[in-house]
Symmetry: C2
Subunit: 206 residues, 2 copies
């Protein structure tokens, strides 16, 4: 079977989790994040990453191809975790906790997450990987909505993804696009707004 | 009075609106937008803009300094218009109209607005100008909320900016960050959600 024309290059091999391949990958990822957080995308080079990771340049070129390949692999690896959204027993508190995680990650120093998002405007490979990561995160968050439905907090036919986007979009809009200083009340406020709208039936099919 | 240390460079002179200076500025802006829409930020050079505008390279360098200066001036010029948000007699319809304008602008071909937003991740001058433009647009939209308050649709102490961000953020989140295909229902849906939440008191001070 031939791959479709727009197929992604084969991902780097994932052998035994504790093996040499995995160790090199982890070292390289760490170097990418450190370089990106300290110097930003413009200074991100295969050479700097190889040097910082203590890995042969040739290995980095062979396995990741270019800077976009490095960023895409870092973003893809971010989904290899056991992250789950908060489970506090209330929709509004779950969403508020989620929003606080987003705000904390986006305002962390060095600004690794913000730099990855900015980098996704520079590389198509990174853009696709960023999209996959967001899809993964929003899919995992759908359980927050399912639990609220089970508790009878919101109507059974609530559209989970729309609710989740409404709850989180103001955070990203402020921090990534409007670039306003972080508003400490916004995580709670956006959660309250989305929960109120959900209770009022805003996310059911009209 | 000396300017503060982080002052912007002086804006290009604005002489008689119909004069040579204004004409050159308009030609250059048009060339920037055309180049950006066709080839994106990476191909945007002072030389390409000068050639396309039919203006001396030296003039472009002297008046705009660099590509960031060009982009910033284009973004600043976007506020020099008489744009006003829709006035339909209902909060939800005003917000829906606004969201349709955003979605249309963001999905227009060539993708000038999307390219300007992407460019604001590349140049600090463009970033500051993009922030000023957004501030200008959201400030002009506050009248939508004031009218809804006057009509008794929403509580008098409704926080206009929060409501407007809630109504519009899902559009930007989808189109700029998640980069999902445009959802034709989203403008109306995000408007309805924000209007419902506003009616339920989500944007009043608790």
């Amino acid at each position: 079977m031939t791959p479709p024309a727009d197929a992604e290059p084969a991902p780097p091999p994932r052998r035994r989790p504790g093996g040499r391949t995995a160790r090199v990958r982890a070292q390289v990822h760490e170097a990418v994040l450190a370089e990106l957080g300290e110097h930003g995308y413009d200074a991100l080079t295969m050479e700097a990453v190889a040097a910082r990771a203590g890995v042969h340049r040739a290995t980095v070129y062979r396995r990741w191809g270019d800077v976009g390949g490095l960023l895409a692999d870092v973003l893809d690896a971010a989904s290899d975790d056991a992250w789950q959204p908060p489970d506090t027993g209330s929709l509004e508190r779950d969403l508020a906790g989620l929003n606080r995680e987003i705000q904390d990650a986006m305002t962390a120093r060095p600004p690794v997450m913000a730099a990855l998002i900015a980098a996704s405007f520079r590389s198509e490979k990174a853009e696709r990987a960023q999209r996959r990561l967001w899809e993964d995160r929003y899919a995992r968050c759908e359980i927050v909505v399912a639990r609220a439905v089970r508790r009878g907090e919101i109507p059974p036919d609530t559209h989970a993804r729309r609710l989740l986007i409404t709850a989180t979009a103001p955070l990203y809009h402020h921090l990534v696009l409007l670039r306003t200083p972080p508003d400490p009340d916004l995580p709670d406020h956006a959660a309250r707004t989305a929960a109120l709208a959900a209770t009022a039936g805003a996310f059911t099919t009209p």
